[in-house]
Symmetry: C2
Subunit: 159 residues, 2 copies
């Protein structure tokens, strides 16, 4: 199941993501610093997309009030590492919980509980590539954002 449940083992899930981003950073020859870690840990604290000014407000609880530009810089690095994705349709950012650094996420957004998840469907990928080619289009980037109800929210009114 790609969507987190309200009571999943979140600490383990966040720990794993943190280890992944550290590994990816050192592999890429970059060193993560305080600001990166604060931003990433705020994004990890729930499975929702968070706006920059929200991150700024929450950063205070981490002992350091970050300014917008500092957050944008941290997000840029984290996105390059494939550990954070921007949700265009929400002007917000979400931590990636996938095991591989994904640069072509297919994002699912629940309109009821706001939880965000990702798919990585090869069928979707192939269909997009094939359809692009049929239109003579050479695709280099993609942004897929689907809205709807996640498994926790279908059936019951709220999660």
């Amino acid at each position: 199941m790609t969507f987190s449940t309200p009571h999943h083992g979140h600490d383990a899930c966040a720990d794993a993501a943190e280890k992944r981003v550290e590994a990816r950073a050192s592999e890429a020859g970059k060193r993560l610093k305080d600001n990166h870690r604060i931003v990433f840990s705020i994004l990890l604290s729930d499975h929702r997309a968070v706006g920059v000014y929200d991150i700024a407000a929450r950063s205070e609880a981490h002992g350091k009030r970050l300014q917008p530009v500092q957050i944008y810089r941290a997000l840029e690095t984290l996105m390059e590492l494939g550990s954070v994705h921007r949700v265009e349709s929400a002007n917000a950012y979400v931590a990636c919980h996938s095991n591989h650094a994904c640069r072509r996420p297919q994002i699912l957004i629940c309109t009821a509980c706001e939880r965000v998840s990702e798919m990585d469907s090869p069928k979707v990928q192939n269909a997009l590539e094939q359809a692009s080619l049929e239109n003579g289009f050479v695709m280099t980037q993609q942004n897929i954002e689907l809205r709807g109800l996640c498994p926790n929210c279908t059936g019951q009114p709220n999660a």
Copy 2:
């Protein structure tokens, strides 16, 4: 070919789009007014996505300097009619040249010439719906934006 060429018969193409939006409006029991027509005709004047404040600036040449909120209101109507799409990744809006009022466009953006086109691939659509279901996700809206090189821009440096 979905992408317009630099020298296609643009007047005919724009005329057709204008007729379509008028037809859709009357079918929906809405009446288009000056502001709607100005905004739509600005979007039609090229096959690119245009930002709201750009539209505001260009509106002056149409004899009426529109304020942002007026443009947002016009765009809302035009989007409801399926004749304009928002390009989330560009904070901009594009006229729809498709014959059917499409609410689930698959948008193609050329990173070289900035032209925007749409696909409506059933394969992509099916793949998305199937993959969503496999994840227990009930999709209600979708936003697909692909970037890359359009047929006019592959091969030659610019169009």
